[in-house]
Symmetry: C2
Subunit: 146 residues, 2 copies
Amino acid sequence: MANTRKATKKDLPAIYGLVRELAIFEKAEEQLTATLADYKRDFAAGVFEAVVLEEENEIRGMVLYYLTYSTWRGKMLYLEDFVVAEQHRRRGYGQQLFDAFIAAAHEKNCAMVKWQVLDWNESAVKFYEKNKATIEKQWWNGKIIF
Amino acid sequence: MANTRKATKKDLPAIYGLVRELAIFEKAEEQLTATLADYKRDFAAGVFEAVVLEEENEIRGMVLYYLTYSTWRGKMLYLEDFVVAEQHRRRGYGQQLFDAFIAAAHEKNCAMVKWQVLDWNESAVKFYEKNKATIEKQWWNGKIIF
């Protein structure tokens, strides 16, 4: 049985490795401009938190999240990244990690949780619907990269 | 000329008032479940920040934002809410507030800024494009309200 626990600074290389693995898989490695040193500084400053899933002394997945604010609902926990290593999928690790994320939101007295999913990612949408999520399709993202 | 400045706790009633005005306009007042007391507690805890636009001793608009994290880019400032009071539109207040938001992101050494816009809101999309934003249409929002 895999174990989920709050990430500490010692887990940041593994977390960064999972992000990098996914960026390479998505053929977008050049867009990963944040470094492990950035992760260390920003984690220490409390900008984000994470839960890791560990089995056989190996980190096989993670959820990375931070506290945000809904002007209508109040405190909200935002799931920024959610990764299970490719070779460890279909074992329920994703559900364990998502449950840990929801538990973290309750611990912080959040009124809601939020995240994003790509419109073509049917299996992810199905997973979230199974978890009683509402999927909203009418919002576009705006961004400016400096 | 209107003046923009960082919000202090004294501005929270006016900020809450602008959020409420918009919720009523959108016929969604029942979804505004956060109270002014919540805003006061959460602002004091540093969960969000805001810039207000003031003219003739009256707050006529605001941007409300918080620090988040892109696992690819690093620190990111997220624009959660952006309101100019109905009767004070078309005077450039929106641009002044958006500029103040971008300036706040630079002050915090953020790598990018992000926000959302409704797909039918053509004038807002045009405004953001004029500000050299990228508009992404392939993401859906997932949420669970507790």
